[in-house]
Structure formats: C-alpha cells, structure tokens
Amino acid sequence: MRDDWFREDRLPHIYCAGCGNGTIMNCVLEAVERTGWDQKKTIFVSGIGCSSRAPGYILTDSLHTTHGRAIAFATGVKMANPSLHVVVFTGDGDLAAIGGNHFIHACRRNIDITVVCMNNHIYGMTGGQGSPTTPIGKTSTTTPYGADEAPFDLAELAIAAGANYVARWTSFHVKQLTESVLTGLNTPGFSLIEVRCQCPTSYGRRNKYREPVDYMTYLKSHAVLKEKWERTAAPGAELPADSFLVGEFVRRQRPVMGVPDEA
C-alpha cells in the first residue's frame, strides 16, 4: 500500500485473511498516484459492503454512504465541483442489485467518474448471501442448493448503458489491473473496471475454494484474454465452461458529463 495515501492509524483493517480487496486497493492507489492528481482534490466514494470500507483506509476526503447509492452520491460531488477527481469503490451486490438503477443511469449520463467493482460473487459483509453475480450452481447462504438465476455480466451492462471505458481483470492480474484503472482514471466519462476477486471466507468456503490460492488459481486459469480469444477462437465459438473474458472491452469518446470547462 502506498504510504502517503494510507491512513495508518486505521489499522487493523477489517478484511479477512486472504481477501482480494487489499490487492485491488493497492492497484487503484498505484494508478491514482501515477495520474499525478492532487491528493486534496481526489475523493473516494463507496456504498456498503466489504469493498465499500476501502475509502476509510485512504487519506483523502471520502464518503462512505448508504447501500447501493455510492454512484448517486458521487454524481452530486462531481457535478457540484467538476474539478474534483471522483473514484467509487463498490461490490457486486452494492453496484448491481440495490444500486443497479444508479449504475446504468451513471453509464447513460457518462459522468466523469471511475468505478472499481470488487466482484467476489457474494455478499461478504452480511455473511455470504447470493448476489446478482453469483454464478449458476454456486452455493451461498441464500442459494444453499446452488444459484438458479442467471448472473449479470457487469461489463456488458456498462457497455450497453453507455460507459466510455469498460475493462475486466482479476485480483491475479495486478499489472494489467493497475494499467486499466489508470486508463479509466484518464478517460473522460464513466469508467467501469470490474475486478473478479477471491472471498475465501464466504464464497470460497462454500464453493471448494477454501484457500485463497485456490481461487486465485481458478481466476488465472479461467480468465481468457479478450484479444487472444478473438484472434484464436473459431467464429461463434462459446467460451469454455466456467471461463470468462478479461481485458479492455470498450474505450470510446461519447459525450460526457462532469468534466471541468477548459476555460
């Protein structure tokens, strides 16, 4: 963790041993540092959940808000003062369930904020309930016989709703993730970086990934680089079961909101 951005007096943190959130925070702070942004002008906003505790450990102004509403709060911050840089930390439940409406409308507005979603496929803080990204067949305290609802693809959702920058990586891909966050921060308009990450305590324990390294191994072996897939797969081929695309999905320049006037 970057020392000058870290609130050391907040230690010990609340994250479980083996949690992926610390890795993601580190990548995000590395990227923020590389933008050269003024620490005073950088604001972190979050909702509720494990991921959403992240701003509390960062030495900037921050808003730890209500469940699912982080993007709506961030919209107020950014529109009231477009010279501030706004980064949102969120989880899959926070972003896609209770916050789904704010998510798609922020993509539609293409407001100039960067959203980092720590997607561990489960509600960690409340003890392991299913989320809108729990894969079919995976178990949680509210899907004890295996999830039977199709999960959201957060990246596809953001692309369809109009975001300017959309990428997906995992907590294994720290270098690519850092680069991707940096690109998101520097791209005007709405950026979503989805990060699939391990939750050994709630998700792993119930789904045969009890050790953090087990889920990291899964992430590494089942993540398929988008460019490679497009280059090598037969036309129309389905992704192998359980695997998912990673990479930069969209980088475009649709009209944006919340960018300061050049004048």
Binding site: K40, D61, T66, F73, A74, T75
Partner: protein, 364 residues
C-alpha cells in the same frame, strides 16, 4: 408568483448552486424552475436524477463540496428519501428538502393538498434524531422560509425541510423579493480541529471536500475523527444525543412564529395552509376570545410558546391530517386540545373553525 416558484427563487437568492430532483406532483414546478434558471448561473448545476433516492444522495454529495444544495418532492418521493435523510443527519450534512405535501397514504391524491407528512419528517428515518422543519402559509413565506432553511441547515449542519402543501405550492400571490437575503454559512473547521468535534453549540466546524482536510465521512457511528466505532455503546450514545441536543437545545432560539391575542381563551395552533382560514376567523370575523399561534417552524417543537396564553381554555388545532401535531401539543399542555382534522384535499372553511370554537365552548 406561484408558491413552488417562490420557493425555487428563495433558494437561488440564498445561493443554492446544486439541485438534484425527480419530478413528482405537486412539487414539479420547483424542479422545472430550477432547470430553467440554474444553467444560466455560473457554477450552478441542475440535474434530474433517476429517482428520489438518488436525488437525496446527490444533494448530500454536492453539499460536501461546499455547495448549497436542495431537492423538492412530495409524499411518495419523500418516503424514498428517508434512508439518505438519516445519512444526512448522521454525517451532519447541511441540505434543504422541499416537500409539497399531497394526500396519502401511497399514491393517494397526487393533485390535492394535505399535511400528512408532519410525523414522517420527524420520525421517518430509522434511529433517534432531530431535524428542523419549516411550514410556509403563503407564497411570500415560500420565498422567505426557503432562504432561511439554508441558513439553518448551515448553522446546525443538518437537513432542513420546507413542509408546504399543494395549496401553498400552487397558490399565486404577489410577493416582495428583497434585493438580497441574509446568508449565514457554516462555521469553518478550525485548523487542527477534528472534523466531527463539536463546538460549544454542539455543531462541528465544516470543511468542504477538496480543501485538504482529508475528512472521512461515514453513516456509521463514528468518533470525532470520523472513524467508525460501531460497537462502543458510550460512543453511540454520546454521538446521537449530541445530534439531537444541538437542535433541541436551540429550539426557542430558532422558533419562528406569529401570536395574535395572548388574552384569548380559545387559541388556534396552526401551520401551513390552515393558517389562512384561522386568520380569517380570528382577525376578520373577530370571534370573541379567540387568538392564534402560527408556527413557521414546527420542528423542533417550540413548546414554550404554548404558555404565552395565560387565559387559554382550549387549543384548537386545524390540520390537513388526522391530528398529527395536535398530539404533539397535547404532550405539553394541561388544557384540552381539540383537533379539527380535515383530509381529502379541501381547506378548512371559516364556518368549520367557528363551529369548532362553539363546540369547544360547549364542552368546557
């Protein structure tokens, strides 16, 4: 000018630079007027959010950048805002919420007047807290009290509510717009002071985002640094008691009211649209022995004002609900409190209030 537009103009006169809202009858003209006016004001922002939950969230976010921020809604939207209203209380975020009340419960009567949210505004969010609520009874008061709401919000660092109703919101009257309105900004957070350490008045100094104070704002129970501390009973109790007492202890100082005929035996206590009928009865009809107390600020409740009527035999409380504030008054007095409740959307008629006085006289 229309009441809703007067409210918007009062906000702009007070320096409101952020409006986040979602259309709902009968408050819509507030947002429409802001949408027309704000893009022409440098640094101001109007944004139509995706719902009322987002509207409330956005004005809180905007307030933390130092902007004077506002939203406007009506009952169903007000209910949706409740969670984030509690967040504004807990995080001591100054902001203004206009509620042009309509008939409920549920979607009820969208185009008809009511005063059915008077308890929701005080108790609607979860947990214990206190808020400030104003109630205009004329178009002029829509302007004046909206401007005043921003000063109270900043002084006490709390959400402040303008609890109007459809009659007042859609009424058209001539008003006087002053050249300028008094503007009281929040106390600045002293150098080296902790962001949630209260001053002698119980209110912490404020530092806007971007000014280098690195303030962690959270809706969790927090210490004076803003750091979460959720399992310490003493911490929670002292924080919540302070949030309440910073407002309740000042209630006589911030009370805003009109008293007519302190010698009255039958005293109307009123706020909002029914004030107009009460005035007609007391001042024009001159029914003997009647007087009134008009509350322009209903919360925190200024109960000392009730003792200003030494000869009172009964308080008569006309409301466009089934007796919400009448019950609050009852808590503070030993004489009978007679609610004159009217729901459905029509104002009380003078005859109905004269009859209430007659009935009160017969009961005593």
């Amino acid at each position: 000018m229309q009441g809703n537009i007067a409210s918007a103009e009062g906000a702009l006169a007070a320096g409101c630079t952020f409006f986040g809202g979602y259309p709902i009858t009968p408050s819509t003209e507030v947002a429409e007027h802001m949408a027309a006016r704000m893009p022409k004001i440098k640094g101001a922002c109007f944004i139509q959010m995706e719902d009322e939950i987002a509207s409330m969230a956005a004005i809180i976010g905007a307030a933390w950048t130092g902007a004077r921020s506002m939203t406007a809604t009506s009952g169903p939207g007000f209910s949706l805002m409740m969670e984030n209203i509690g967040y504004a209380v807990m995080t001591e975020t100054p902001c203004v919420i206009v509620n042009i009340q309509r008939g409920g419960p549920s979607t009820g009567q969208p185009t008809m007047a009511a005063q059915g949210d008077m308890m929701q505004v005080k108790f609607g969010s979860h947990g214990d807290y206190s808020i400030i609520a104003l109630a205009p009874s004329s178009v002029q008061e829509c302007f004046d009290l909206t401007a005043k709401a921003f000063n109270l919000a900043d002084r006490f660092r709390t959400p402040v509510f303008l609890m109007a109703d459809e009659v007042i919101g859609h009424m058209r009257e001539k008003i006087e717009i002053p050249d300028s309105v008094e503007i009281v900004r929040p106390k600045t957070l002293a150098e080296g002071a902790l962001p949630f350490a209260p001053g002698p008045d119980g209110v912490p100094g404020f530092a806007a985002f971007g000014t280098g104070r690195h303030i962690p704002v959270t809706g969790l129970t927090h210490d004076e640094r803003g750091y979460p501390d959720t399992t310490n009973p003493a911490r929670h109790e002292s924080l919540v008691r302070r949030l309440i007492s910073k407002i309740e202890d000042a209630r006589h100082d911030i009370a805003d009211y009109a008293i007519v005929n302190e010698e009255a035996e039958y005293v109307f206590v009123c706020y909002g649209a029914p004030v107009r009928t009460v005035r007609e009865v007391v001042e024009r009809f001159r029914i003997p022995d009647t007087g009134y107390l008009q509350l322009r600020i209903v919360w925190p409740f200024p109960e000392d004002l009730l003792s200003r009527f030494p000869k009172v035999k009964a308080f008569i409380v006309p409301e466009m609900n089934l007796g919400m504030m009448a019950r609050e008054i009852e808590r503070h007095v030993s004489v009978p409190v007679i609610p004159v409740s009217k729901i459905g959307g029509d104002l009380h008629t003078p005859e109905e209030l004269v009859e209430a006085v007659r009935v009160a006289g017969g009961l005593l």
